[in-house]
């Protein structure tokens, strides 16, 4: 395959960036999007140019490290992570726009790499449970009904890739925060911090400069893990409940 790539190049956090055009040849349809970028970078290195910087880790779609906006869509045209997106979903001769996540709370570090530590600070503010440390507890000590376990697991699937923020026209982190809040708030293990968790995590989210939610639904459409949009309603419910309890 032969492709024209327009990639956002930016040398540092405070440097101006711009879209730069590259022609790449010899792309196999079986390559992942990241392998295609590796291929481009090898050519750039051979030519003595600076390779394109991008985040990646497991390349199995489970770590949440990779992520870029491809043709205006977070993680590209398929509902998966960028590492699991394959070049067979593009056609020979395509022009592909590749940009970093865009949000005030996710400043660009270099090229396609953004600083997502705002997510870490949101998790740090309430994404934990109080449990005695030491030996692992007996597995049946705390009974969890199956539907509750299913809901918790559905939300625990969030890998914190940031696609929701990138896709949201308002740069809002509501879907991410709701996944983290609902995951622990439905479980008995999360019950002791149920109220403080939602208040603190929403507070941390607001403090990071994410936008407000206008329920456009773009986040849930982009989410590679299928976190559902009603999760945001569930978090709002938890928030109102916590406020009414006065904690």
């Amino acid at each position: 395959m032969k492709l024209t790539l327009r990639i956002w190049r930016q040398t540092g956090p405070d440097e101006p960036g711009r879209m730069t055009t590259y022609d790449v040849t010899g792309i196999s349809p079986d390559m992942s999007f990241l392998e295609m970028l590796d291929h481009l970078n090898e050519e750039l290195i051979l030519a003595g140019d600076e390779p394109v910087a991008f985040d990646h880790d497991c390349r199995e779609g489970i770590c949440g490290a990779c992520g870029m906006v491809i043709n205006g869509r977070a993680h590209g045209p398929e509902r998966t992570t960028t590492c699991q997106l394959h070049m067979r979903h593009f056609t020979d001769g395509d022009t592909i726009d590749v940009e970093p996540w865009r949000a005030a709370a996710f400043p660009v570090v270099k090229d396609l790499v953004v600083d997502r530590s705002a997510f870490d600070r949101i998790i740090g503010s309430g994404g934990y449970i109080t449990a005695p440390t030491g030996a692992a507890p007996e597995a049946h000590a705390t009974a969890v009904p199956k539907p509750v376990a299913d809901t918790a697991f559905e939300h625990a699937e969030c890998i914190g890739c940031g696609a929701c923020v990138a896709a949201c026209p308002n740069g809002s982190a509501m879907l991410f925060t709701s996944a983290k809040v609902v995951h622990l708030n439905v479980l008995p293990q999360g019950a002791p911090e149920r109220e403080s968790r939602v208040l603190d995590m929403v507070g941390a989210m607001d403090a990071e400069g994410f936008g407000g939610c206008t329920n456009t639904g773009e986040c849930a459409t982009a989410c590679p893990k299928g976190i559902p949009l009603p999760s945001i309603a569930a978090m709002n419910r938890e928030y109102l409940r916590a406020l009414s309890k006065g904690r």
Binding site: E99, A105, N215, P230
Partner: protein
């Protein structure tokens, strides 16, 4: 946004149903309009209910607008750099919430000047709402503005009702489809109900 929106929506349902009384003729419609001033008597003085209602509605409109302004400011600040690859996001109703809201705000100003204070009404006879409405909708520009505003209202409610359910935590995976259907139904019924009046005047059903 959600609380003030739902309050205004409840008012609109009553307002639309009241408007439809125009199809029963001038005496009944004018008597209905006069009755609105006597609600709450003898506890409330004549006309007090209407004024309390107006006070509540103005507060709802202003708070709704202020909240929309604050939310928009915050949302724009959260996405300072735009994407080079532009594409349409979300549904038409969702994308037009802000400008649709502006159209509705302008409409409300005209609507009050037209049929409450009668400042810009072509007939402008107090306590004769039926005759004022008929005189009004014989002008094509009043019909166009009214119908455009009601279409904007339908779109606003289509996204707004479901969005309010999300904000207030009333939505969940099971109710999601039903709430969206209800939002569509409310938008359709209110738009058609309101538009029925100028259409009836234009076609001569009401005269």
């Amino acid at each position: 946004m959600a609380v003030t929106g739902v309050a205004m929506l409840l008012f609109l349902v009553g307002h639309m149903l009241g408007n439809l009384k125009i199809f029963f003729g001038a005496p009944e419609f004018n008597a209905y309009a006069a009755w609105l001033r006597t609600i709450g008597e003898p506890v409330l003085h004549y006309g007090w209910f209407l004024w309390l209602m107006r006070l509540g509605l103005v507060a709802a409109v202003v708070l709704h607008g202020v909240a929309a302004y604050q939310l928009s400011r915050r949302d724009r600040a959260a996405r300072p750099a735009k994407y080079a690859h532009r594409r349409q996001r979300a549904s038409y109703a969702t994308r037009t919430m802000r400008w649709g809201g502006v159209i509705l705000a302008l409409f409300i100003v005209w609507h009050i000047l037209d049929l409450t204070t009668l400042t810009v009404n072509p007939r402008g006879q107090a306590h004769h709402p039926y005759e004022n409405i008929v005189a009004d909708f014989r002008n094509w520009y009043a019909d166009v503005f009214y119908i455009v505003a009601m279409l904007a209202l339908g779109l606003h409610i289509r996204h707004g009702f479901w969005s309010a359910a999300q904000t207030l935590g009333a939505n969940n995976a099971r109710r999601d489809r039903a709430l969206k259907a209800l939002a569509n139904a409310l938008a359709l019924v209110l738009t058609c109900g309101f538009i029925a009046v100028p259409v009836a005047v234009m076609t001569g059903v009401v005269s």
